[in-house]
């Protein structure tokens, strides 16, 4: 009887460790949307090449975004975005966020559910780093973890500015980045 209980316990342990997302999770399937709204026009771009890691034991969460993978509807906008005057993606090919979940005890990665995580860390874009704090939504479902976060990015904070001409009036001073990553 003892043996059966023991082997059951071992089996349960193996099964739970295989299915519950614990440790360092990696996401190579994600989506970053960039959205800028002004009275003149709305500009949006999509990027499906974000890579992210989430360490469930420490709450460390990191995103790496290849900037040249942002796709715009208009070729000219994409060129402006990448140019030395704007994001200078040849010089700074990746944007990065390195942060930590500060309320880790509120999140149970082993139980299905939706959790609100307070994330704080350094966002570097265009070679400039700033501390940002945002709320992220963590969804645990059948052992899969999804993180959704929206970051408001004030372009001037990252020394991104069009001084004159059409882009200076048509691009919002603060843009919205919506990030979704699915981990395994």
């Amino acid at each position: 009887m003892k043996k059966i209980v023991l082997s059951l316990a071992v089996v349960t342990l193996i099964v739970t460790s295989a299915f519950s997302p614990i440790g360092k999770l990696v996401s190579k399937t994600g989506h970053v949307n960039f959205f800028s709204h002004t009275a003149i026009e709305d500009i949006t771009a999509n990027n499906y090449k974000v890579v992210s890691t989430l360490e469930t034991s420490t709450g460390d969460i990191i995103y790496s975004v290849p900037m040249q993978s942002f796709e715009f509807a208009k070729a000219k906008m994409q060129q402006h975005f990448n140019s030395a005057k704007f994001l200078d993606t040849k010089q700074f090919p990746k944007a990065k966020f390195k942060g930590t979940i500060t309320n880790l005890s509120d999140i149970d990665f082993g139980t299905d559910g939706t959790y609100t995580a307070n994330v704080t860390g350094d966002l570097s874009i265009h070679g400039v780093s700033n501390t940002v704090t945002e709320n992220a939504t963590i969804t645990v479902s059948g052992g899969q973890v999804t993180v959704d976060v929206v970051m408001d990015i004030t372009l001037a904070d990252y020394k991104i500015a069009f001084k004159k001409g059409k882009p200076s009036t048509n691009i919002a001073k603060t843009v919205k980045a919506t990030i979704k990553t699915v981990y395994k």
Partner: protein, 156 residues
């Protein structure tokens, strides 16, 4: 007087046509057709990955272009993983068995079907535009792959 007015009107008319045409051309300028663009480099996966791991700055200088229209590359390697991204595009990872990083090739809605026949272990050549290089990320503690997009299989 009438003749002069006519000439002035014609000149203004031509001016409007040229201006408007230029505006429309720039406004509706299509995206670069990567597959129709001449290939800049033909490489094995290991070559480009090693170039990046050795000196990422020099490799970026060589492969990335301002305004985002970076080099068009044909890369040959072994298929190590096939997946789909959130945009329903096929992603084929070319990576050697003992390599730390590889080349991740994202197809398009038009070229996806050409990736369907691929199997892990196949040796293939894929053409696409490079978006970013490979490297070891100390914070994530993992190797990032070279990223290519707008990819298609090169028929031999």
């Amino acid at each position: 007087m009438n003749k002069k007015l006519k000439i002035v009107l014609i000149i203004i008319g031509i001016g409007i046509l040229i201006g408007g045409g230029t505006f429309l051309y720039v406004f509706f300028q299509p995206h670069r057709d990567v597959q129709a663009t001449k290939t800049d480099f033909k490489l094995e996966t290991k070559q480009i990955v090693d170039e990046y791991l050795k000196d990422a700055t020099a490799a970026n200088e060589k492969y990335l272009q301002e305004e985002g229209e970076s080099k068009v590359i044909e890369v040959t390697g072994i298929v190590s993983e096939i997946s789909d991204d959130f945009n329903q595009q096929k992603v084929v990872l070319l990576k050697g068995m003992n390599e730390n990083a590889g080349v991740s090739c994202t197809f398009t809605s038009e070229t996806n079907k050409n990736a369907n026949s691929l199997k892990v272990g196949d040796k293939v050549t894929i053409k696409g535009v490079i978006r970013s290089g490979a490297g070891y990320d100390e914070d994530m503690e993992l190797y990032e792959d070279v990223i290519m997009e707008k990819c298609d299989l090169v028929k031999k």
